[in-house]
């Protein structure tokens, strides 16, 4: 594990356009088919422009940023030995179809856990106007060398 990783930031990901059918597909996949996720009229009745993505949809955007970290050979992170330990989302608002979202990842901490390392990263997800939508924080548990 490269300890100099702490504090490192990655460039913003290319904008991700949230599609209505993608939101519906994701809602069905997580068994969360409340009408606000599937019916634009129900979402509009709550004050949203289009269908509202289920809360954990933010992971799809966060993952684009995490791929930058995982693809970098200098990090010392080996994907086959990596498991997801913790996940947290802090929302300013829900993600809505039509949003163009960008994620900016930074590594905020590394802690030893026996031979493994716990790597905490934060992806700040913002919309096309630059406003904060959600911050997604992951702890990845990366196994040791043996």
């Amino acid at each position: 594990m490269n300890p100099e990783l702490v504090g490192r930031s990655f460039p913003p990901t290319a904008p991700y356009l949230v599609g209505r059918e993608k939101v519906r597909e994701f809602a069905r996949a997580v068994f969360t088919t409340d009408p606000q996720h599937t019916d634009p009229a129900a979402a509009r009745a709550l004050g949203y422009a289009d269908v509202v993505a289920p809360p954990t949809f933010a992971m799809v955007i966060q993952d684009l940023a995490l791929q930058q970290l995982l693809a970098d050979p200098e990090t010392g992170i080996i994907l086959e030995r990596t498991v997801h330990g913790d996940q947290r989302f802090r929302y300013s608002r829900p993600i809505v179809a039509g949003d163009k979202l960008t994620a900016t990842l930074s590594v905020t901490g590394i802690r030893a856990l026996g031979k493994a390392s716990m790597v905490t990263s934060e992806a700040e997800i913002t919309d096309a106007s630059g406003a904060h939508v959600v911050t997604a924080t992951s702890v990845l548990v990366v196994g040791g060398d043996d």
């Binding site: 996949a29 289920p54 799809v60 947290r88 929302y91 829900p94």
Partner: protein, 137 residues
Amino acid sequence: MATAELQIGDVVADREVHLTRESLVRYAGASGDFNPIHYRDDVAERVGLPGVLAHGMLTMGVAIGTIIPWLGDSGRLLEYGVRFTRPVVVDPEAGATLRIVATVGAIEDDGVVRVDLAVTHEDTSVLGKAQARVRVS
């Protein structure tokens, strides 16, 4: 929905969700997480797992989905976090049933409530500290 009506320990929502291998393939496609340990027995076995596992993020998503009809508006959700403590093995024939019980864990100031999500598979907890902070008034 108002804080005054809620008390610590109140169950605000609960449900059971039955996962099958099809559910895992569907989630893989919807989320873009195509790690083969979530659909290939041979790969799961090779890396020493007890079987094909549900994506942790699928369990996390199913858990929070339980309270959305009660919340009414997803915009009331301020924060949601979980710890992945135990894998959910999804049998090719029998699948796996998740049980979710959402309880008021704490009542904060300013109309914010902490909802604790107890998520179990075969009576064993699979998520740790699964908590959501929601605005209820």
